[in-house]
């Protein structure tokens, strides 16, 4: 296991280097933040001065060398727009996103897994198709559209829920629904197919031969096995959620890293953008690693291998 983790960490490091390099050069191609920071009638002189202040004037390779040198020491630069260390900006906002994600996953699982089980139990039947349709509806609706509709219905028309921003528990409802619905289909599909596979297996037959009740057979023997592939999805989903957060956080004025990312692109805040992408990659990689370790815990075949 240790060896496995070590290897994964190594791979992660290589990956991060790739990501960092791509981001650096791509970011430099996308435009210059100077113009966004200056009024339209700034003079060429103002422009040059600001470019120098921001350290954007050297040859790009020199800039890259400086970037790498600092990055090794954990300094991913200072946000041009917010004038604070980019790493700090990221970690300031990260909790706001992190409090959203578990709820979204929970919502996805609470709806998706039972739907998947029901669909598998009624394979090919009406309930299967109904469950499938309900679940797929989540992926079929663009999340920004869903978010706007939810605000319009539940906040503006009905006045039940606040329409945006972080706040008390009520503030979580709409963003979590927006973020979580698209997971339902994923969880449902994988639960369904895993259940179908497991339900055909010999050990389920043996469990029935033992005379166990149908509930124990389905919810203990089948589901526990079916949950293993469900778990592998977590890694993918968290990645999706972090990306999906860009849209959700924009719609709901949620001050998380999704919004931060979007702003970093829009304002060409290179250091911030680099930091956000690199730190996000670290986040996704660590979550994937954590999921794999968890996976090993759930599946004894891996744990004890």
């Amino acid at each position: 296991m240790k060896r496995y983790i070590a290897r994964r960490l190594m791979q992660g490091a290589v990956l991060l280097c790739m990501v960092a390099t791509i981001v650096f050069f791509l970011g430099r191609l996308t435009g210059n933040p100077v113009d966004l920071m200056l009024p339209e009638d700034a003079t060429a002189e103002d422009r040059a001065a600001l470019t120098q202040t921001l350290g954007l004037d050297g040859p790009i390779l020199d800039q890259f060398a400086i970037f790498v040198g600092k990055a090794i020491h954990g300094d991913l630069g200072t946000s041009i727009r917010m004038k604070q260390p980019a790493v700090d900006a990221f970690f300031d906002r990260l909790p706001n996103t992190l409090v959203l994600i578990p709820w979204a996953i929970l919502l996805g699982m609470l709806l998706g897994i039972p739907l998947g089980v029901v669909a598998a139990l009624h394979r090919g039947g009406l309930l299967d198709r109904a469950a499938g349709t309900v679940a797929v509806l989540g992926v079929a609706m663009p999340s920004f559209w869903l978010g706007i509709l939810l605000i319009f219905v539940f906040s503006v028309e009905l006045g039940w829920l606040p329409s945006g921003r972080m706040g008390g528990p009520a503030h979580y409802v709409l963003p979590v629904i927006t973020l979580g619905t698209f997971l339902v289909a994923g969880f449902m599909r994988i639960t369904r197919s895993a259940m179908l596979e497991v339900m055909e297996s010999e050990f389920v037959k043996l469990a029935r031969i033992k005379g166990l009740s149908e509930a124990v057979v389905i919810w203990k023997h089948c589901l526990r096995n079916a949950l293993i592939p469900v778990l592998t999805l977590w890694g993918v989903f968290v990645g999706n959620l972090i990306t999906g957060a860009i849209v959700t956080e924009t719609v709901f004025a949620w001050p998380g890293i999704g919004r931060l990312t979007y702003e970093a692109v829009i304002y060409r805040d290179f250091p911030l953008l680099q930091a956000v992408i690199i730190l996000k990659s670290i986040l996704i990689l660590s979550i994937n690693l954590a999921v794999d370790i968890l996976y090993a815990y759930v599946d004894p075949r891996i744990r004890l291998a």
């Binding site: 055909e200 037959k205 029935r208 033992k210 096995n225």
Partner: protein, 334 residues
């Protein structure tokens, strides 16, 4: 020990029909199977793949695969009670306690995510009718160890906390056996339990089964395609072909004087360890499609002795000897 008299019939199957209802048609996988099983006896059910022997077993357990399989006719009398008429709840009570089963593939028969002990525990608790969660753990585990010891697993105390993937195939099949017999069932169905095992391990397992049977007096329905296993294990043997039992009788009689041409050909086609090495006898052709069965004898198209009447009508079951029957026009009644 139950006070059953030796030779008492514990399981009787009468005219069992289990069909698959598919959109393409009806697959008559089990199409009129009858046999009986006596206490302490091993009945071999032999046949080639697709002849319906496994489905017969699953029909007896009422564990038909999903997707259109249905027992439409017949009786399965377990101790005189037709279990086809039981409610699902009653059937759960019967399974594992009065009739149990060992499956073919030891690799997939155990749930990979639970320790061996857990899986045994479920079965043991069932026997005690105790709620799954409330029995004292230590006591049940002690019983689980005993159950493993009974199937000759070395160091059962350690094995109990292991997971299936940590065991060899032979060992897993023993655990499956331990689970299957933990409810002291009167009838055990063994569906090709040794097919996936190496020959030396197979021998160990068969001997174990024999011993367990001697200890408990259970009746075993032993499903196999291997005449060697039949010869070693069984008291009587029923030969199945295309959904029907075509011949049934004591093992020695079947081997020495098979009455059905299919049985005869089948035994002849098996390569032998002794005797001359020459061309093997073969059965040409293929078994008929279970979706489109002929009206006459199902073996007629491959039979070397075929006559017109074989094609016209299915031959009845003919008593050809003491406890020996054959479904053939040419069989001579005893």
């Amino acid at each position: 020990m139950t006070p059953d008299a030796k030779g008492e019939t514990v399981l009787e199957v009468r005219d069992l029909h289990t069909h698959f209802f598919l959109r393409r048609g009806v697959v008559k996988a089990v199409d009129g199977v009858s046999f009986s099983l006596r206490r302490g006896e091993v009945l071999g059910l032999v046949g080639e793949s697709g002849c319906g022997k496994s489905l017969t077993a699953l029909s007896l357990m009422r564990l038909l695969p999903k997707g259109g399989a249905q027992t439409i006719k017949g009786e399965v009398l377990l101790g005189g009670e037709n279990i086809l008429e039981c409610t699902p709840a009653e059937m759960r009570e019967i399974r594992g306690r009065r009739i149990s089963m060992v499956l073919q593939d030891p690799q997939t028969s155990l749930n990979p995510v639970f320790a061996i002990g857990d899986q045994l525990r479920e079965a043991l608790l069932r026997r005690k009718r105790a709620p799954l969660t409330r029995a004292p753990h230590a006591e049940v585990m002690k019983e689980a160890v005993a159950a493993l010891r009974r199937v000759e697993i070395a160091a059962p105390e350690q094995r109990i906390s292991q997971y299936p993937h940590q065991m060899s195939g032979g060992m897993k099949q023993r655990v499956v056996g331990a689970i299957a017999i933990s409810g002291e069932p009167g009838v055990l169905i063994a569906d090709e339990p040794t097919t996936a095992l190496d020959v030396t391990i197979q021998l160990q397992y068969l001997k174990l089964l024999k011993r367990l049977q001697a200890e408990t007096g259970m009746a075993i329905l032993f499903i196999t395609h291997d005449f060697g296993v039949v010869g070693r294990m069984c008291d009587r043997v029923a030969v199945m072909y295309a959904g029907r039992i075509v011949e049934c009788g004591p093992v020695r009689r079947i081997f020495e004087a098979p009455q059905h041409p299919y049985t005869r050909a089948l035994i002849a086609s098996v390569p032998k360890m002794t005797g001359p090495v020459g061309r093997l006898t073969t059965i040409e052709g293929q078994p008929p499609s279970l979706m489109d069965l002929p009206v006459g004898c199902r073996f007629a198209s491959r039979c070397s002795l075929v006559e017109q009447r074989c094609l016209d009508a299915y031959p009845g079951t003919v008593r050809v000897g003491d406890e020996h029957t054959a479904d053939c026009w040419k069989a001579t009644p005893a």
